[in-house]
Amino acid sequence: MRYSIWSLINQALTGNRNWTPVWREPEPKSHYDIVIVGGGGHGLATAFYLASRYGMKNIAVLEKGWIGSGNIGRNTTIVRSNYLLDGNEPFYEQSLQLWEGLEQDINYNAMMSQRGIINLYHSDAQRDSYVRRGNAMRLHGADAELLNQDQLRSLCPFLDYENARFPIMGGLLQKRAGTARHDAVAWGYARAADQRGVDIIQNCDVTDFLIKDGVCTGVETSKGTIRAGKIGVAVAGSTSRVMAKAGLRLPIESHVLQAFVTEGLKPVIPGVITFGAGHFYISQSDKGGLVFGGDIDGYNSYAQRGNLPVFEDVCEGGMAIMPMIGRARMLRNWGGIMDMSMDGSPIIDKTPIDHLYLNAGWCYGGFKATPASGLCFAHLLARDEPHKVATKLRLDRFRRGAMLDERGAGAQPNLH
């Protein structure tokens, strides 16, 4: 069923009795041309672009839990392309462009809202570095605007401009950035992929890889053996433990990142705002809750929950830039497991094992990358060569010393 205003009116007039399931629930076949391990945002997007842009057929997505149960349903929904490095910025800008046309591509309302992101700066030196970042963005076709304090005051009068420790001097604005409804992105990609014949198999745990003479020929799963021409793995925080089954050790550590939501408030925060002197980012959901987060906890974790010191640190960051939120009551907080890479940038590449491909290392920036990650991984799987915006996102870059270290923190995953 194609969604449109007419289908909506039609359903409304017939008592909403004729809606059909959003995707099928097929039993797995014994062989596929391409199997994607991991039915998160990236895996589903990969399947969608393989089917829609690369004309591939006979594809399956294997998901251990249910669609939308992982990080795609646990993030703070921010979409942006304000990166600095040559290897990163074209990729994220490609992603933002895909976001802009996403709802038409997948015929699904992902509530994509380009309400802008402002990175605050608090010193002359930081302003200079934001000028550099903004120029880098514009060189790659993205938009960036430097705001001085007066311009920022007119947009966000509620910020604590006279903060004694970190006075707010202005910000770097990307107007095309914004937020999207995170689980609608998963459902939309799943539905669109399913309509193009992709089998989405939920509750299907991959227990082993079938590897013979350095060639991967399929996977063992809780629903039986599935053979495949090519296998792509996109399992975010579980990357190390899944790839260990194929005998690979990776430049990745799994860490927990927490996120927070307050009670619903009237519209108070116009877009996404980030603190430049600490680590704090905030936006307001369409339901009115303030959605915010900060640093990862810093220790290896697979627990999907964090500890209180980070809770405190994040709230202090919020109070430093916008004291008005101090009386909002926190409703929920949760944690997700991030595949932190050694340089803070992702990996979309072949592995040393033939026909086994890897999509990982998204740190805590995976959501915004969903469309481009899917597109580039689909390109790699279909053509056996990297997409032109993902040529630097290679697995062997650590050995070659060709790091993509946006933050300049070195091989220290908990500092990226």
Binding site: R241, P251, I252, Y299, Y302, A303, P309, M342
Partner: protein, 116 residues
Amino acid sequence: MIINHPHLGPRDASEFTILGDASLINRPDWQAGDADDAFYTYQYLRDNPAGLHRELWFHEQGDRSWLVVTRDTITHAVIEVALASDVAKAAKAKTTQKTATKKTAVKKNANTLAQT
């Protein structure tokens, strides 16, 4: 998380900073023939287990000692805490012992050769 410091007793984890996997104690020999590979593995590759994980914590807000903490990454339970210096010394003693046994073995071989 509470880390049971060998000298100072139970301390809150917020007094510490974490460096990472305890394998970082075993810095490879930079003069070895395979130093390139060894340093790549040492610096970048991680086991990243779901379960027991040995890791290096630094008591930054306390006595500034380095600890090897064995922690469960699924439950965050701290299982065992030891001074990193003790762990490193024990590891060194083990390797010297191994080389010593190897040397005696070589000597023995030499003796047998001499005898024949």
